[in-house]
Symmetry: D2
Subunit: 475 residues, 4 copies
Amino acid sequence: MVFDKFKEECGVFAVFNHPEAGNLTYLGLYALQHRGQESSGIVSSDWTQHHAEVGMGHVNEIFTEARIAALKGRMAIGHNRYSTHGQSLLKNAQPIAIDYARGPLALAHNGNLVNADAIKERLEREGSIFRSTMDSEVIIHLIAKSRGARLQDQVADALRQVEGAFSLVIMGAKELIIARDPYGFRPLAMGRLGKAYVFASETCAFDLIEAGYVRDVKPGEMLVINEDGIFSSFPFAPAPTHHCIFEFIYFARPDSNIFGENVHTIRKRFGRKLAQEKPVQADYVIPVPDSGVVAALGYAEASGIPFEKGIIRNHYVGRTFIEPAQSIRHFGVKIKLNPVREVIKGKSVIVVDDSIVRGTTSRKIVKMMRDAGAREVHMRISSPPTTHSCFYGIDTPTRSELIAATYSVEETARFLGADSLAYLSVEGMLSAVHERRNDYCTACFNGRYPVTTGIVESQLALLDRRPEHPVTAAK
Amino acid sequence: MVFDKFKEECGVFAVFNHPEAGNLTYLGLYALQHRGQESSGIVSSDWTQHHAEVGMGHVNEIFTEARIAALKGRMAIGHNRYSTHGQSLLKNAQPIAIDYARGPLALAHNGNLVNADAIKERLEREGSIFRSTMDSEVIIHLIAKSRGARLQDQVADALRQVEGAFSLVIMGAKELIIARDPYGFRPLAMGRLGKAYVFASETCAFDLIEAGYVRDVKPGEMLVINEDGIFSSFPFAPAPTHHCIFEFIYFARPDSNIFGENVHTIRKRFGRKLAQEKPVQADYVIPVPDSGVVAALGYAEASGIPFEKGIIRNHYVGRTFIEPAQSIRHFGVKIKLNPVREVIKGKSVIVVDDSIVRGTTSRKIVKMMRDAGAREVHMRISSPPTTHSCFYGIDTPTRSELIAATYSVEETARFLGADSLAYLSVEGMLSAVHERRNDYCTACFNGRYPVTTGIVESQLALLDRRPEHPVTAAK
Amino acid sequence: MVFDKFKEECGVFAVFNHPEAGNLTYLGLYALQHRGQESSGIVSSDWTQHHAEVGMGHVNEIFTEARIAALKGRMAIGHNRYSTHGQSLLKNAQPIAIDYARGPLALAHNGNLVNADAIKERLEREGSIFRSTMDSEVIIHLIAKSRGARLQDQVADALRQVEGAFSLVIMGAKELIIARDPYGFRPLAMGRLGKAYVFASETCAFDLIEAGYVRDVKPGEMLVINEDGIFSSFPFAPAPTHHCIFEFIYFARPDSNIFGENVHTIRKRFGRKLAQEKPVQADYVIPVPDSGVVAALGYAEASGIPFEKGIIRNHYVGRTFIEPAQSIRHFGVKIKLNPVREVIKGKSVIVVDDSIVRGTTSRKIVKMMRDAGAREVHMRISSPPTTHSCFYGIDTPTRSELIAATYSVEETARFLGADSLAYLSVEGMLSAVHERRNDYCTACFNGRYPVTTGIVESQLALLDRRPEHPVTAAK
Amino acid sequence: MVFDKFKEECGVFAVFNHPEAGNLTYLGLYALQHRGQESSGIVSSDWTQHHAEVGMGHVNEIFTEARIAALKGRMAIGHNRYSTHGQSLLKNAQPIAIDYARGPLALAHNGNLVNADAIKERLEREGSIFRSTMDSEVIIHLIAKSRGARLQDQVADALRQVEGAFSLVIMGAKELIIARDPYGFRPLAMGRLGKAYVFASETCAFDLIEAGYVRDVKPGEMLVINEDGIFSSFPFAPAPTHHCIFEFIYFARPDSNIFGENVHTIRKRFGRKLAQEKPVQADYVIPVPDSGVVAALGYAEASGIPFEKGIIRNHYVGRTFIEPAQSIRHFGVKIKLNPVREVIKGKSVIVVDDSIVRGTTSRKIVKMMRDAGAREVHMRISSPPTTHSCFYGIDTPTRSELIAATYSVEETARFLGADSLAYLSVEGMLSAVHERRNDYCTACFNGRYPVTTGIVESQLALLDRRPEHPVTAAK
């Protein structure tokens, strides 16, 4: 997956009781950079007041030594954001930091709430003023409005009113509150570093700071950490588990463990299963870097066809690129990827990627292979066709833009210009997670949405017509 | 190779007679970013005057749409720099652009001159004023001082006075001059894009702009391109060819062809040969990303041992990183690399990298493997031990810092803490380039320097003592 | 008045129905720059949504052509701020721009509310979240909470709850609301430019954009301007008029007309009256530039003593200045002011300034005169002794810092080191505004505060002891 | 003088043997800001190497605490620049700082060389490379080329080859050299601060740092200051003195003493003399601020007509201003100046300014007075008509742009729309400097150029025709 597909979601991090809480949070966010590159922020607490440093861009661009030094105190929370709800503006960067009747409050949220619009409308009617376009802000207002005696009561009160996906880190002046929705959509792990507690979306953040993994925060669990200790409760109505399987397919880093499994291991199994389900004869298995690498290794191993690094990725890409007016053909993909002609030329190749969204990038990659002299180009995708949008925190486009929502695999293959195209089956995918296969949300592949409160009917409705511009077969 | 080894050298690009010369040069420099990340610059000519845009940092950070629009004219040259001579300052960024008696002049240089200091001293005695600390500036002064009738005569006159490595692109108001030293140390290729001529350090720059490769600029060749056409001459004394073999080992991009060979193909042969020369039993072949990947693929293929992506590289690393005061162990390498514990744990692994300079990074990587649970760690290096400094454009440290200059392979293995360590032999390396094996410079592996004019005796002398701080075996 | 006295308050501007509303507001704010130099902002409305551009610093530094072009629409409001309540931070810059149940809302406020703290406490208890530390934000919350049917009803509802000084410009999606507190503390004028209505704190803003002055917005008046026309109402309880006389003494620009009078004319009368009340023999009348110039002209005319430009002001002063460690004597004042020794030397001089706050700057100026060779230095102040703090929008220090609150005129003269010191009397000051003398607030000179709701008793209490560090006579 | 007239020239500063040399130079440049606002720079010496900090803009914008701290050493030179020769670019900012055969060298120059082009051409033919378009750079090259034994010999050698105006501060590693052309065109003063020597274009710089004035550097004098002491010599051919009288008319600060006179005193005499020569009946004498203030005081005193501050100047003007598309009439002058209508209305006014260049600004000011209701507007100029360009460092436009070069006083009055216009006579002007009247250059008023070497004949030639676009009388 290269550009025009699922945009990354968010990453959260928290630390309690460490003398360098701000610096550790910075490092944690750096390790979680792949979960959001639009903005980053850290709020620390010196037990009396909060200190916030937030900016647009990458972690290493935003935080200077002076800004980290300004993050005083032994407790901090942080957030990397890629917009799943709300525009791309500094006012939408998290953590959200406010002062309210009880003092300072900061919150960082991974996931997407499905009933945020309805709650916002109600709150605004009652006189609340929203400063951002983020769904996460409704939680802040619900906390501020709650009559709960303690912050934890207010948080529980607020979260009982929202529906959808949330892995949350919330910070008062003197306490940290961690909460995860009862479905367990998004990952959230707990670790220890000496006397400090740390929390992160993925365990790769613990590796960097050399914290030990303790356990996952459980679906529906709320943890309160303060000077008296750490306290667990389950304040929400119980619900069946629905982990997001897309975390394994694309989002999470291979060196992380989430939902009790190692990402690399599961991702490789997807590739192996794909080779078994959808075999094809060829000279090489070639991954689309970096998204298809692990699955391609699995495919190569299971098929016995040599793995080859036939496409080079340029990692120096910035946010914008200045294209010449006399447009170079399929420029967009060239700026990131270039084939190794000597490898490709005259060969039959299996190109492995993790998913197809609109199909435009895959089409450019197939064209690139052919221009480099490939005799045959077989696309293999290590997930099922993405036919439905996600409402729980993955930034899929609307159904009408999803090529698999309107076209058959054969039609898609023709659009891509590939000699063959095949996807991993839903069954095959679930077989990779073994006995826990019922604990996963697969809505983006089959439309079985586990939580629908607040999702407008029309959003759920199947599109009954094809897009106006018919698909043209690649030449 | 990850951090503390050879720093990258430079990349040059030039285009003649294209309506978007500035934009193409920008794209060319972007494709050559791996050859220098310290500063970048472009100078264009509108046939009357030059327009220069130069800055510190990466190509995509420096050049905005406005700056590229300011690069008017149909001819341009560009340069990516990593200091091999001279401090890291904007005044040392190239292209060097001046006005002299004949009008505007700009120059971009890849390589290192060995007699620059002596020439500079002479010129300063005669009243010349140097504005930078770059060796390349002496060429500019020699051109300005030359009594030659045409620019090309002045350039030939100047270059006959310097010794060492140069792949040069030089631009007057109305003509482009391309020159390569008679030894052919650094690569330089010629291409065509419609009616335009393009030149680049590596062919990957042609791929991005969809230019066709024509041929390499020959060692000792000078090309003059102006409105009358393109003219070749060989104005320097003939000399034996000495291509830098390190371009294959590390510098060049795998998708480039240099010295008449594809880099990926040669690099993979290094890995294969290494497996034949230095076999070892293990569960996995694991590359140090990205430097060891291609050789590791070759090693895995030749040995039959599975290739595995056991180390993840974080590509979001910026120029500085803010380390916590309570220092995390071997922090430096952790910020870029993290092992996939589930892969490594309990396994015997062969870690493949392209070279070892000081040994400190490799030592950290071995430690990281052990911490992740590796049963055995075998280091395999796809080049011979680096025992000598380079004077032709590769930024190797002094001999006393090169671990292979003072310690045996066994001692080095002990320092790294590896179960075994083995390098590719010089013979094995040269066998990968077949019949042209005598055309390569191997001075960094055996001290046989092909050009010594101007190199101070003491620099060449073998160190006859070990460094004062004895090597400590890794625990 | 040079540095350490009253800090400037705020300026507001609004325009309705002009194709270049954003640009006119920018020019209006530029003309009002003297009323606040800490931050500036403009919000425009394109009848559907608001566009905001806000920044720290001076108008000409903040607004670029691109930022002004982004201010789309035919209606806009703007604000220059010098903090009178709330810290100096971007989040405290105005206009305040929010989205609430009715859509976009923006507000700019000149003046100070005396009961803001109590209202804020109540609102926070009810769950409101404040994002700034400005008193003006309570108005926004009161509007959002109001059950009023139309925006104007909500505004009237909100303003009936606050006490103190307000000259307000408020903008909804399609209408502009202008309001002034019933006491008329701060000025606010209405003008026309073709078909457009304009509003500004001072008429000098109309001169720059060539708008015609229509009339002042009346104390207690609320104006609603929308596509149906302009509508006036008086929704607040009637109250006696209390214009701030300090606007004439220092704040307002001499070329403005406020409260129905020209500032230059009144200020010059202060000087004339001062000469009549407190005559002294001397060679020259010398103003402290620029604060004392107009009064000094009046003094010179009435006394017949020649006016002389004996002190030069450097207008290139920036926000910070880097003082040498080996401190130059009374550096602070030197960076702005330098005497013309040839004028001062051997002469007896009357130095005229508009007011004395702490006395430290005046003391430095007297010292500077003596160092320049003055034979006698007589200070004359064109306002009465400032003995009380202001609660209506002028940033006076606390009483304990006001030199006139604790020391007699004789003691102050000794502290300054002046041969004599004399102030304009309250009677003399009021005689300058003729028959309307009862319409002015003179609380800072006599403690007769016209509005006290919400002012804490202790703030009002007279200090019954002198500051601990006794005043030392200047040498 | 407001905008479109003579642009300011340059200011220089130097200090030898002070522990805070960099900070003092910064303060000195700040006091000399009026002599150049385009760029500023400081170079310090720690006796071994130079440290340079240079930037575009105002002194207080360029120099931060960190940049001043970087200026190590006990010796420094500084420069404020307004381009008199060479484009407005950072590469043209001074001091010029280079390394040459003898080590570091830095130079700051006030004045203009008339034979720089010819010397540059010769040097370039010999192979010298110029990096800027400043005439001052030829001095650097002549020094570098000189065979002189000591730096002072090289400097004398170089300066004997140039013609024109120079007040120079030159710094080697361990010594400071100060030089002034034999005509004494530009001012240059020497002061002491404890054990340190200081030099500045004007004495107001000494006042700020509390240095004592010692004497002026004499025309034709060269001073060498090093650890052995201070040494004076006169290495140039003797020449008659030609101080620039325009320094008194406009450039220098009133609180400075130059050419042995106080600027305020001379400038006021110009006003008095003007009142005697060109009397007129009126209600008020009104200065154009700030350029006409001192002369207007003199005019008012001599005539007995009251001085009035009838025009307000806005000092917050930045470098660019964003004008509305529907252009406000004579916007340019309005952004800086606004009349006090209440003062002007119905009155007959004498508007006093220091000079008229193109006449466009004065025309706008007359219009502004009429729009404010003036009954009569009489312009009085405190210098003679400017009929010729300056070649010695004042940035006058070419003759064809000087209104007085082509039009009579009557025609000019008609163009301005003034009821009358009168200038000070050359005789009257010189009477203000008493017995030293022959020591002044008056070329800009009568074309009697004292130094013509290198001035191209055509530049000197009188224009024998009027500009093509005839002057239109103001309505």
